[in-house]
């Protein structure tokens, strides 16, 4: 349904050109949930906005690539055609629901407008549909709450309204950019349940962009891990979590605080800082922080390679070599703890 081919999205800043998205390819099938995981500055948000063609141009420009949605290239499409797709076939929800809602209009007006922009409905029908949508996203007493202004809603409720607006036209693809980052855990749990149930009910494909591996583990069928503008590992959720093939993903999993872990044990952080995307390191972008980096990694810039069953990883180490190195390192670390 959506196919991204060799996409590059660069940002022109005073200090140079930031390679925010650097030669990224992937595809999304109808009805699946894909997680894009990365830290801040990994390019995941620029990538998400590229899919909607919402990056401001300038400073963002696309030196290369195609974004094919149902066979049409969004990169070369006119703004007027894009508007027919945005909010209609592809919708997006953002991290901060307050700044995505207009504070001076009632929820009712914003929702009905969203419905009537793309659908030829009378006001009455649109209103009925609006109530239906609010019920779907779990807003109690929608007839009354619809007349409220955004500030009268809590953060979680606002995010529900945003989801309702995004779903207004039954989109084929919903892009959720850090949809729960600004919310409390108990509210996050509610919103994640909601996204899962929507996925089931409407069959919408969802791209969920997050820094939280837990969110991905809960929702996604497939995961792409981004690091410094590249996808460095891609595979089914089980592949990523249990058959990790890329040192970055593995380090990230190790460094995460986790209530499922055994005790109050020491975390193993990733050393150093994420690279500067204007002048990325030579060779593999992760080599300055990688525990397994060898001389080869300073030379070779690895591309995504098949590790079996659609599991792709960008690392010079083969799966066997990686497992071997991992085992050695863990043995050494255990010794260290004991000594």
């Amino acid at each position: 349904m959506l196919e991204v081919k060799n996409l590059k999205a660069y940002i022109d800043v005073d200090a140079g050109v930031v390679k925010a998205v650097d030669d990224v390819s992937f595809s999304i099938k109808a009805g699946e949930t894909v997680g894009i995981v990365g830290e801040s500055g990994s390019g995941k948000s620029v990538l998400a906005l590229s899919l909607m063609q919402l990056n401001p141009k300038p400073p963002v420009f696309y030196p290369q690539g195609e974004i094919l949605f149902e066979g049409q290239n969004l990169l070369t499409m006119k703004e007027s055609e894009l508007r027919k797709i945005r909010g209609n076939k592809i919708s997006m929800i953002f991290q901060d629901p307050m700044s995505s809602l207009n504070p001076i209009f009632r929820i009712e007006k914003q929702l009905i407008e969203a419905i009537r922009t793309h659908q030829d409905l009378s006001r009455k029908d649109a209103e009925r549909k609006a109530i239906e949508l609010l019920t779907d996203v779990g807003i109690p007493d929608p007839e009354r709450r619809m007349r409220d202004y955004p500030h009268q809603f809590s953060g979680g409720m606002r995010q529900r309204v945003m989801i309702a607006i995004a779903l207004a036209c039954r989109p084929k693809l919903l892009i959720a950019d850090e949809p729960t980052t600004a919310l409390d855990v108990t509210i996050q749990a509610q919103i994640l349940e909601l996204l899962a149930s929507i996925q089931k009910k409407y069959g919408t494909a969802i791209i969920i962009i997050t820094h939280d591996l837990g969110v991905v583990a809960k929702l996604a069928d497939r995961v792409m891990v981004m690091y410094s503008g590249r996808i460095v590992e891609e595979g089914s959720t089980a592949d990523i979590f249990y058959r990790t093939s890329m040192p970055y993903t593995w380090s990230l999993l190790r460094s995460m605080p986790n209530i499922g872990s055994a005790g109050n044990e020491r975390l193993v952080p990733i050393q150093g800082q994420p690279p500067n995307l204007i002048t990325p390191p030579k060779g593999c972008n992760f080599n300055p922080r990688c525990l397994f980096a060898g001389p080869e990694c300073l030379e070779v810039d690895p591309v995504l390679a098949e590790r079996g069953n659609g599991h792709l990883a960008a690392c010079v180490l083969s799966q066997r070599e990686f497992n071997e190195r991992k085992r050695q390192l863990e043995a050494v670390e255990r010794e260290g703890v004991r000594g």
Binding site: D14, L49, L54, S99
Partner: protein
């Protein structure tokens, strides 16, 4: 900020006027006070570039020399009212208890038009340079203290101020080493504008006849003398007028330039991520 031609030009004009008036005695051919009753109200010529006045004095020399008084008053008023306004603004922005009383007094002062306040004060004190400076300072410092206070209120609750408090840094140090440097930019911008306004106000006061002693050449005094002759000797009014306009305009352009240069939201320093996300959201809405 000096990459922009506009700002560079403004700075050039100001430097030219300042240097010209300070060094005037070294190079002026005609004395500004030399009276030549045979040469009254002559139009501009090679000998008298700006013409002569009703006593036959050279207007060019007088305009140059007059700048000295005007700029002096402007600078002194700008500096004093900025300092006074800054101190009051800092204190009332930082100490909630002082704030209420001080700001009501300031509001009272702001209720009078600046020029009217100055006029009343000069009328009461008598017109000489010192009194004009005092009067204009009273007229302008309330504006500065308002601006400084609101800037202080904005940053008073930023965490690094609280952090300083919790590490035991004393109030005077917080006020002058933490808050002041962070509110300096609006203060400097206000200062340039007051500089310009003070020059205008001095001219206005002199024009109204309550300003500097009429025998001292100032732009305002010259205009006042010239008004009678405006139909027969327009150059008499035009050149001092142009001098005022150019100086004030240059100062205002400079003030705008400084404001842009200090503004963290200026496009030159755009921050990649924040601006992009907000733009994206605006487009959706």
């Amino acid at each position: 900020m000096f990459k922009k031609k506009r700002n560079l030009l403004a700075l050039g004009v100001l430097l030219l006027v300042t240097v010209a008036t300070i060094t005037a005695s070294l190079w002026l051919v005609q004395s500004p006070t030399y009276i030549d009753s045979h040469q009254r109200l002559l139009g501009p010529s090679a000998k008298h570039w700006f013409g002569t006045d009703h006593f036959g004095r050279d207007i060019f020399s007088r305009v140059i020399v007059a700048a000295r008084v005007s700029l002096f008053i402007g600078v002194v008023v700008a500096v004093i009212s900025t300092i006074v306004g800054t101190v009051i603004g800092l204190l009332s922005g930082y100490y909630k208890k002082a704030d209420f009383i001080v700001m009501r007094i300031i509001d009272g002062m702001l209720a009078f038009p600046a020029l009217l306040l100055a006029l009343a004060l000069v009328a009461a004190l008598g017109g000489n340079i010192t009194n004009i400076i005092i009067a204009l300072t009273f007229a302008f410092f309330p504006v500065v203290s308002r601006v400084v206070r609101s800037a202080v209120l904005q940053i008073r609750n930023i965490q690094y101020i609280e952090a300083a408090k919790t590490t035991g840094v004393s109030d005077p140090v917080i006020l002058f080493q933490y808050i002041l440097p962070n509110v300096l930019s609006p203060i400097i911008v206000q200062g340039t504008f007051i500089f310009a306004k003070a020059i205008l106000a001095e001219a206005a006061l002199s024009f109204l006849g309550v300003g500097v002693n009429p025998t001292t050449p100032t732009w305002g005094n010259m205009l006042q003398e010239a008004q009678v002759y405006i139909t027969i000797a327009p150059w008499f009014s035009i050149f001092p007028g142009v001098a005022i306009v150019l100086t004030v305009l240059a100062l205002n352009v400079l003030g705008d330039g400084l404001r842009d240069a200090f503004d963290p939201h200026a496009p030159a320093k755009r921050k990649k991520r924040t601006s992009m996300v907000s733009n994206g959201e605006q487009k959706i809405a």
